[in-house]
Amino acid sequence: MFGTFFITGDPLILGAQVSIGLVSLAAIFIVTYFKKWKWLWTEWITTVDHKKIGIMYILAAILMLFRGGVDALLIRTQLALPHLEFLHAGHYNAIFTTHGVIMILFMAMPFMFGLFNIAVPLQIGARDVAYPYLNSLSFWLFFIGAMLFNISFVIGGSPDAGWLAYPPLSELSGSPGIGQNFYIWGIQISGIGSLASGINFVATILKMRAPGMKLMRMPMFTWSVLASSLTIMFAFPILTVTMAMLFLDRFLGAHFFTLDGGGNPMMYVNLIWMWGHPEVYIVILPAFGIFSDIVSTFAKKKLFGYKSMVFALMSISILSFFTWLHHFFTMGSGADVNAFFAITTMVIAIPTGVKVFNWLFTLYKGRINFSQPMLWTIAFIPCFVIGGMTGVMLAVAPADFQFHNSYFLIAHFHQVLIGGVVFGYFAGMYYWWPKMFGFKLDEKIGKWAFWFWNIGFYVCFMPQYALGLMGMTRRFNNYDTDLGWLPLNIVSTVGAFIMGLGFLFQIWQIVYSLRNHKKEKTGDAWDGRSLEWSIPSPAPMYNFARLPQVSSQDEWWEEKERRAAGVPVEPAQPLEPIHMPKNSGIPFIASIFWFIFGFGLVWDWLWMAIPGFIGIVVTLFARSFSFDTDYYIPVDEVRRSEEAALKGAK
């Protein structure tokens, strides 16, 4: 068994093993040297503070963006040099599989949850999310799931059946190796975390809003989080069940998705897209929210068509459950079915288009400031509109028979995922960075990063539309150069590396800004409109010393106007002790047991899985019977911290 445990004899993987080893050793050494273990444990690992959890999510997402990005560059290198066998077929297949899974599930999702955590409680005037303990558990389940998935590269072998792992290829008959088990358990464990997060944010938004904040007064980002989280609540259980069935097929020889025994692989394809299509809207909706907030802040104008925007968000999240079949028009479901799903898909484009128009009307007659969050927003609009249009072209079922599985499709979804989701989350990160850390990221380096990303994007993906029309199918690691695909593939690869440079500039930007920055003292870095800008940066542990009283959309903006107009300020309510949840190490420990459990099942080692499972149950009980879970921050302490913040602002 241990013979196949470590993958040996491959320079790429050996390199990865060595570097993982070295980086881990270095990290342990640094933490020990600076005596930071205790700090790490009490301040971060056990924290239930949504702001810190948000930061950890974003940090993990950036790490995963790096891993997924390296995968992408390897793929592109192979396609630019098809006959050098830079990556042999087996490797290539593993790398595009892990690229897809990592980018969607371990990059986009945590980045998104990070931004939820950073901004939502602050925007609605709450002191934390509804279930802080669950929030921490969600993070650690995501993190451990991601680690379990990533470790497959050096231990046991990576999954290589595509990011959605269609059977029968993903069944034991098609993928006898260990890799597919890592896929199942990596996704399963982190998926439970995602589902819990979705529930948590729905509850937070519905139950924790500050007095006076009616639903129709919520900032658009909060609305988008509600739409996205509701979608998670309905979509992720489908993923969990599908993965469980695939696991039972592989582990116990069930026949859910194999024909012998009466199952049906097409059922898997349907199920995975019933989750998969809503999933792409789960990640784009919050980006829409971010853009809405940024557009009105940086144009110094009220958001145009607030009600329309809310309606569009909600209808997109409902419609997204009725389009899944557009991912397999070519399965021969007949004209009636194809026509139905073609129409539902096109219908989604209407509310999506309305949002774009409303952003443009918000900019219209505004005073647009081109700071970094706004730059990414402006770059997003044309990029996303083109991507949406090619999406509509794909939705034309009979035409999709020619686009499906080709590079045209690849170009479409990268355009909406990079131009929409990634640019959106970057915009959100730049926007809320001062709220997280109390300073802005360097503008100048940021502009370099911005241009590299944008130019790189078009150089990389525009040629792929052409390649699709030239008949190039996705997932080829090799092709005949007589087909004329080589030049455009080389261009595309150059574009990918330009984006890689953009990423490096961002890392440099962060490192540089950590060392050289001006403290942002007012708490209101961008002359903002919503409540998160009414408190100091970084926000104090309890967020709001007194819960705000909300009387309009753009509450903080109006408050500033009232103050400027000299409207008498109501006397401040006396401070009261603030009720806070206590830190807990249980989520972290529970997630370790989840890792043991998952790793055991991956290898079919019950001696390992069973103790892991017992550990999970024990941690559940441990939590249920611990009653010392909260405390009060005394008034004195709140007063001291508020005064310090005030002094800082002067």
């Binding site: 077929a89 290829l169 026509a339 073609a342 409303n358 505004g366 020619q402 130019i455 029309l469 008949g471």
Partner: protein
């Protein structure tokens, strides 16, 4: 940094323009050689134009608005509280809705017209070819001629070809871009796809759905030739190629790649056996892509499946609810 960009951008655009123009003529999807591909190309153009009706104004509006209302242009109006206009809202909901309705109408019409299992109207009787995707090669069996080929397809031009498709193992997708769109090949199922080449020529074909290790080796040549050449080729294969036995098939079905091959005969009913071998759990084979107009009886009538026709019918009605 502006300076660099000013140089870099036109340079990149030029490079791309050269690349794009250098490769024209290889846009297989836009250069179809048969009726199905032609309709699909038309539809692609129609949808592109309809999309452009929205896309172009939006791109222009974005550029103009962003430039005009930049912060330091104080000459233009600033209306910080303007947030609603019933007229504009009606317009932004209305115009896309109209476009989508038009596009939807085209889509519905073409979806029925181009239903893959619908026979192509022609004075010629269609030629039937059975397609089996294996790991990682294509097996083509000609039930009427009794010959078989691997990774190589030959058929007469100007005649509708009726493909029946299945897979042994992983799900693939059969695609000859210049003749028309693809269709999945799935184990335990028989799909139908009609294509036709209007001109003689060697067309590129490939598997489009990932099937594992050597997926990228699953390309094949589809050779459309005159009727005489086709008949001559059939005779030549019959007289000079080896037979494909059942053992030979099992060898062929093992994981691995293959060069082009041809066989003078193959076991009778091989395709049906490949489809049926997965059916030991449920006795109902599944049959895909039968629109009512095509009628599965007519469709499968010549497939020599010993009374399976009735089952096939049940299969296709069952198909509606999976």
């Amino acid at each position: 940094m502006r300076r660099y960009l000013r140089v870099l951008t036109p340079l990149l655009i030029m490079v791309m323009a050269v690349m794009l123009s250098g490769c024209s003529g290889q846009y297989l999807v836009l250069d179809p050689k048969g009726p199905i591909g032609e309709s699909q190309r038309d539809l692609i153009y129609i949808s592109a134009i309809l999309c452009a009706v929205i896309l172009v104004p939006v791109l222009i509006m974005t550029a103009v608005i962003v430039w005009r209302y930049r912060e330091n242009n104080k000459k233009v109006a600033y209306k910080p509280k303007w947030e609603h206009s019933t007229k504009l809202e009606t317009l932004v909901w209305g115009v896309p809705t109209v476009i989508i309705i038009i596009l939807a109408a085209f889509t519905i019409k073409y979806t029925y017209d181009l239903e893959p299992s619908k026979a192509i109207a022609s004075e010629h009787e269609p030629v039937t070819i059975e397609v089996t995707s294996l790991d990682w090669k294509w097996l083509f069996t000609y039930p009427d001629e009794g010959i078989a080929t691997v990774n190589y397809l030959k058929f007469p031009e100007g005649v509708p070809i009726r493909f029946h498709l299945t897979s042994d193992q992983a799900m693939n997708s059969f695609w000859i871009p210049q003749l028309g769109g693809q269709i999945y090949t799935m184990s335990g199922m028989a799909m139908t796809l009609y294509l036709q080449a209007d001109e003689a020529g060697e067309y590129y074909g490939s598997g489009a759905n990932f099937t594992g290790e050597d997926f990228s080796k699953m390309t094949f040549k589809a050779d459309a030739v005159s009727n005489e050449d086709y008949n001559a080729w059939v005779q030549q294969v019959k007289s000079s190629s080896p037979e494909l036995t059942m053992d030979g098939y099992h060898k062929l079905a093992e994981k691995g790649t293959s060069d082009e091959q041809s066989f003078s005969s193959f076991p009778k009913g091989l395709f049906q056996q490949i489809v049926m071998q997965y059916m030991n759990g449920s006795d109902m084979p599944m049959h895909h892509g039968n629109s009512e107009s095509a009628g599965s009886d007519k469709d499968m009538g010549d497939m020599d499946m010993d009374g399976m026709d009735k089952d096939m019918d049940m299969g296709s009605s069952e198909h509606a609810n999976h």
